[in-house]
């Protein structure tokens, strides 16, 4: 079957402004969008820039806008796209580097801001090995451990588009993962960071993040649980 791929192109050393280039491809219904990009690079332009790594929905490298919605190029099949022309654009809200590649540093700066690691200065248990928790305690934050930091959620968020200082859904998901971990002891510190001006209250529940998440994390729910925790002054278990 035939498909036309319409790709956002920008070469910082050659172009003064971005443009769209179209490529006509012979594709299979079960091809992934990533396969189409590979085909364009092989048959038309080896200079086409995009990120990819595992190509199996695990590394989170190839998040991009596909027909106007954020998704991983390696998880979207041609048969899932109803339009004859498939439009591919870079993530919105992060500085553009080249073609479909954006600068992820602002995204990771927000990630680092929420202290994405376990904090517990208490002495080790008597056996000196590990801090145990029950299955129920582990379940409490299981879903938010699934984040792969692809940025599909953060760059689909209207609040993040309007205010780059906003921590964004991905950082908040990470914050949720540690805030609700029974072994963590930094809840007051975390809640202070999350309730700041650039924190959780900028979430306007537009739900784009949850819709875009390739890992099917209930992001808006996690953010709401953080809001409730701030109001209670402790993790709202």
């Amino acid at each position: 079957m035939k498909r036309t791929l319409r790709i956002f192109r920008f070469h910082p050393e050659q172009d003064t402004r971005p443009h769209y280039a179209t490529y006509s491809l012979e594709v299979q219904p079960t091809d992934r969008v990533l396969d189409l990009l590979e085909q364009v690079r092989a048959e038309y332009d080896p200079g086409l820039a995009y990120r990819r790594s595992c190509a199996h929905g695990v590394c989170g490298s190839d998040a991009m806008r596909i027909n106007g919605r954020n998704a991983l190029a390696c998880k979207v099949l041609v048969q899932d796209l109803s339009t004859p022309v498939v439009t591919i654009e870079p993530l919105l809200g992060l500085p553009l580097i080249k073609d479909l590649v954006v600068d992820m540093e602002p995204f990771f700066a927000h990630y680092r801001a929420v202290l994405p690691y376990l904090i517990n200065d208490e002495p080790l248990p008597a056996d000196g090995r590990e801090r145990l928790q029950t299955a129920a305690e582990r379940d409490r934050f299981d879903e938010t451990t699934r984040c792969i930091l692809c940025a599909a959620c953060t760059t689909s968020c209207p609040s993040f588009w309007a205010n780059g200082q906003y921590l964004g859904p991905a950082a908040l998901v990470t914050a949720h993962r540690f805030l609700f971990d029974s072994r963590d002891r930094a809840a007051p510190q975390r809640l202070q960071i999350l309730s700041a001006r650039s924190g959780v209250w900028l979430c306007r529940t537009a739900f784009n993040c949850t819709e875009a998440c390739p890992r099917e994390i209930h992001i808006t729910r996690a953010i709401a649980e953080i809001k409730q925790s701030i109001l209670k002054g402790r993790p709202a278990v």
Partner: protein, 138 residues
């Protein structure tokens, strides 16, 4: 400025679902209501500072254009209020129910409730406008 451009690009081109449309409608209706409240406070203040100007403003309010604007203002108030309740309910009381089906369904329901509340008011206000500005229904 760059963020404004990004935000407008996203609002227009990102193909969000009901949640994004509810977000946008909430923003627009909030801005509309806020703008009206500002104008309303200013015009009422004219009673004290410039009574003659206040009377002229009242004439402006009776114009057809303002009448139509008021009809849409009522929709903005209803929508913003009902959608605000939806968000507060989910965010502060029922976070566990925040999932894609409930978000989509509740956004649609809010629009229906706002329209049901608004339509009788709109008909009544439109009738009043046609009666006073065009002499119909006499």
């Amino acid at each position: 400025m760059a963020h404004l451009k990004t935000a407008l690009t996203g609002y227009v081109s990102y193909r969000g679902r009901e949640g994004q449309w509810a977000f946008l409608l909430h923003r627009i209706s909030g801005l509309g209501t806020g703008l009206f409240l500002t104008i309303h406070i200013v015009d009422i203040a004219l009673v004290y500072f410039a009574p003659q100007l206040f009377l002229e403003v009242l004439q402006l309010y009776r114009s057809t254009l303002f009448g139509i604007g008021e009809i849409f203002l009522v929709f903005c108030v209803f929508y913003h209020g009902v959608n605000g309740l939806r968000i507060a309910l989910f965010d502060l009381k029922a976070a566990q129910r925040w999932n894609i089906p409930t978000a989509r369904g509740s956004a649609r329901l809010v629009l229906i409730i706002a329209l049901v509340l608004w339509l009788p008011c709109a008909v009544w206000m439109l009738r009043s406008l046609l009666l006073h500005n065009f002499g119909l229904f006499q």
